[in-house]
């Protein structure tokens, strides 16, 4: 058995597996407002991130996403309370002073705040927050940059462009700070449109210079040398990939929204996938690039991606078989526990053990024995 197939062999899991896992959880979260599975999904993401994240800078982004999620819930509750029309439920929590809004817009500020309105806002906010945390988990477990390395050959140019943009953006910020500091030396306090104009000129010049320099470096290192196919085949691949991706998007929308016409769902998704796969295959044949140490896709990747899929599938099955367990009859009722869906989400916690442990940096090499002897 190749060591890559062992779940105990320390290595970095393919970031694509993490993103698929997270997408599965996000898809599950998108189908329900029931706080029981939502909170469970939130817990699962936190648990897996705590177990398998690395020490790299991006790995700490989960915390930021969690804070943003809490903020979303809070904002949602506050706005709902301020703008609630009072007709949303009989249980009055408290009454705010009311500010009439001119005209007959139907809007009002303040007034009666009902428990139902607050709870509904909380549940809806929780759903959005959960989906956000799934993305945060994927981002801190699988580096987005590393994921870009594994884009298929046909999308390679786009991948390169994104990587370069990711490098340039922080550089622009540092440049701007440096130039601003320099302008202070000329006795300018800064502020206003004029200051911005003065800032923009040197910063953009610097960025332009660097881009030209980078383009020259890439050209002299053989970039684009092997992509010399004819125009027709290039157009055809582009059309296939683009059309396919469009189909995938429509299909996913159809599946997730649950209310659109039948052909928008699975059929569109399948057609789109086939088209895109075809385009990527032909485009990949055309590039002739090779890849250095591609991230392997072995058993642990299947397991991790699969566990996310299990969570999504059980949720969709529950929705078909027992929709009452996912849709709350009334917001104030004690939420039911959808057993099957919860089991599926539980499976999605397994990557905490199924994903291979991360390699630790090797300990520093011991001092050479000769020097020890000499010293002794």
């Amino acid at each position: 058995m190749r060591p890559q197939n062992l779940v105990t062999f320390p290595r970095i899991l393919h970031p694509g597996a993490w993103w698929l896992w997270a997408l599965g959880l996000a898809a599950a979260a998108s189908r329900t407002l029931n706080p029981v599975p939502l909170l469970l999904i939130l817990a699962v993401t936190g648990f897996v991130v705590a177990a398998r994240r690395s020490d790299a800078a991006w790995a700490h982004s989960y915390g930021a996403f969690l804070k943003l999620a809490l903020l979303i819930i809070a904002v949602r509750i506050v706005f709902q309370s301020l703008l609630s029309s009072g007709s949303q439920g009989p249980t009055v929590l408290f009454t705010l002073p009311e500010v009439p809004v001119a005209g007959s817009t139907g809007l009002k500020l303040g007034g009666v705040v009902s428990l139902e309105a607050v709870l509904r806002a909380f549940y809806e906010g929780l759903q959005l927050a959960t989906i956000l945390c799934c993305v945060g988990a994927a981002n801190s477990l699988g580096s987005a940059r590393r994921l870009l390395r594994s884009v298929p050959g046909a999308l390679y140019e786009i991948g390169v462009a994104v990587v370069i943009a990711l490098t340039f953006a922080p550089q622009l910020v540092t440049d701007a700070a440096r130039v601003r500091a320099a302008h202070r030396l000329r006795g300018q306090s800064g502020g206003g449109l004029r200051a911005l104009k003065r800032l923009a000129m040197p910063v953009l010049e610097g960025a332009l210079d660097r881009s030209v320099e980078l383009a020259a470096a890439m050209d002299s290192r053989g970039y684009g040398r092997t992509t010399d196919a004819g125009r027709v085949s290039r157009r055809l691949t582009g059309l296939l990939v683009f059309g396919g991706l469009l189909g995938v998007c429509v299909g996913v929308y159809g599946l997730l929204s649950g209310t659109s016409a039948g052909w928008l769902g699975m059929p569109a998704l399948l057609t789109g996938s086939v088209l895109a796969a075809g385009g990527i295959y032909f485009g990949g044949r055309r590039t002739g690039r090779s890849q250095y140490r591609p991230d392997p896709w072995a058993l642990p990747e299947w397991l991790v991606a699969g566990s996310g899929l299990v969570a999504a599938v059980t949720m969709f099955v529950t929705l078909a078989v027992d929709p009452a367990a996912l849709v709350l009859a009334s917001v104030t009722a004690v939420p039911p526990v959808p057993l099957l869906a919860c089991l599926g989400i539980g499976v999605a916690a397994l990557p905490a053990f199924l994903a291979p442990p991360l390699p630790r940096p090797a300990p520093a090499a011991p001092a050479r024995t000769e020097t020890v002897e000499v010293a002794a």
């Binding site: 390395r149 320099a182 006795g187 300018q188 320099e213 470096a217 970039y223 690039r289």
Partner: protein, 543 residues
Amino acid sequence: MIEFDGVTITFSGESTPVLRDVTLAIPEGELCLVVGRTGSGKTTLLRAINGLVPHFSGGTLAGRVVVDGRDTRDHRPRDLAEVVGFVGQDPLAGFVTDTVEDELAYGMESLGLPADVMRKRVEETLDLLGLAELRDRQLTDLSGGQQQRVAIGAVLTTHPRVLVLDEPTSALDPLAAEEVLATLQRLVHDLGLTVVLAEHRLERVVQYADRVVLVPGGGRPVSDGTPDEMLQHSPVAPPVVELGRVAGWQPLPLSVRDARRRAAPLRALLDGLVPPGHEAADGAGEVVAGLSDVVAGYRQVPVLKGVSVTLRGGEVVALMGRNGAGKSTLLKTLVGMRKPSSGRVRVGGEDPAALKPARLLRHVGLVPQVPGDLLYESTVARECTQADKDAGVPSGTTVALFERLSPGVPPGQHPRDLSEGQRLTLALAIVLAARPPLVLLDEPTRGLDYTAKHRLVEILRDLASRGHAVMLATHDVELVAEVATRVAVLADGEVVADGPVRDVVVSSPAFAPQVAKILAPQTWLTPTDVAVALAGVTTVSRP
């Protein structure tokens, strides 16, 4: 290996060619040094080797450039990727990926080499350049010398026969530069690679070169020959060669070792003479600025750890130390760009961090590492008027200053089109408009050729004689020997030495100028000092 046959290069929109009728042959396995003033066409010559000129830059190339049997006329730069490795001036700007290992593999991926070949070559290159321990590191976290070595490694993995480098050491401190040059020499000697490099700091590289190509600029003919032939009459020469001329040595020595072996008679001749002190002309003036026990930097990682320095009028203080030792931070603290977390900073009796920008520029001026940061107008003239307004001085002051520092620049020119040296003097003129008693310069010789550097030395001496206190952070030991009256060495955020130039630099292996190394234990610093002393000796008996 590389042949230029009647090459004339004209960029579009220009009436005169950058290079005219260049005929040149560089045989295999040579280390070839390209020298010339800024803007003379060195970079154009280098870029023509791998076809970046004219394929990438535009313009027309008449004649032929043939590299390893391939004519650049029919081969684009990418088609020459496995023949010519090209490393630009700023390694960071040329990096495509973000880790060392990926960067080394990038070129091979583009060529579509099989996976096992790539794997093997990456490991070999990591070992060859001593990068094995850095393999997983982010490129942005590396030091300048390490980045430059990664950039060299990244083009070596495609196994080119020729390596072209444009000023590979201009941004490096002396030790990091040594590191890179030692790597290059190993490549030439062990792998038989042909290396072509442009460099301003001849004293660093000329000893390793087999051939020197002089690009005089202005369309005058390019000449080439062995280093001592070329340096015999060259107007620009490293101090070791200048000393050789002063002492009348034939053939000229190119390295400290060569010179040292012949220097015994000269040392005997100079014995008993007192080398000039290089101290401030009429003693140091009054205190202009001072730091006491300053701690500054980041909260957890202080960059300056308790630094005390005093600056007096009429002094030129050189601030030395390796990259990251805190030189720039110290300068920034003096202009109030950084607030010290403890300690006291006083410039003209006031705290620079608390001063309004409009008042600050009357006390202290800083020319930043990239002088262009100070400039934003579209012409030199407008830049100068704006500076007059900023400083509240009669209009015309800055233009007059600039004219004195850098005569003959048309006022309608865009600051971007100035040479490095002219841009530096423009920034300096702007800073000087408000007549600050303290003038700071961060790495002023980066990218300057000998002529521009010479001009800078004169300007700095003139400033000091007018009573300004000048402090410059620099790696350039020869500049320090020429101009400084005092040297402060920073290491790890602390001042480890502060005193007259002679006391500090002569005994230091990294900071000693070439003349001091040759004539040690005598403490001469520059060829001019030696020449003046020799002229004073009435009975000169040339060996």
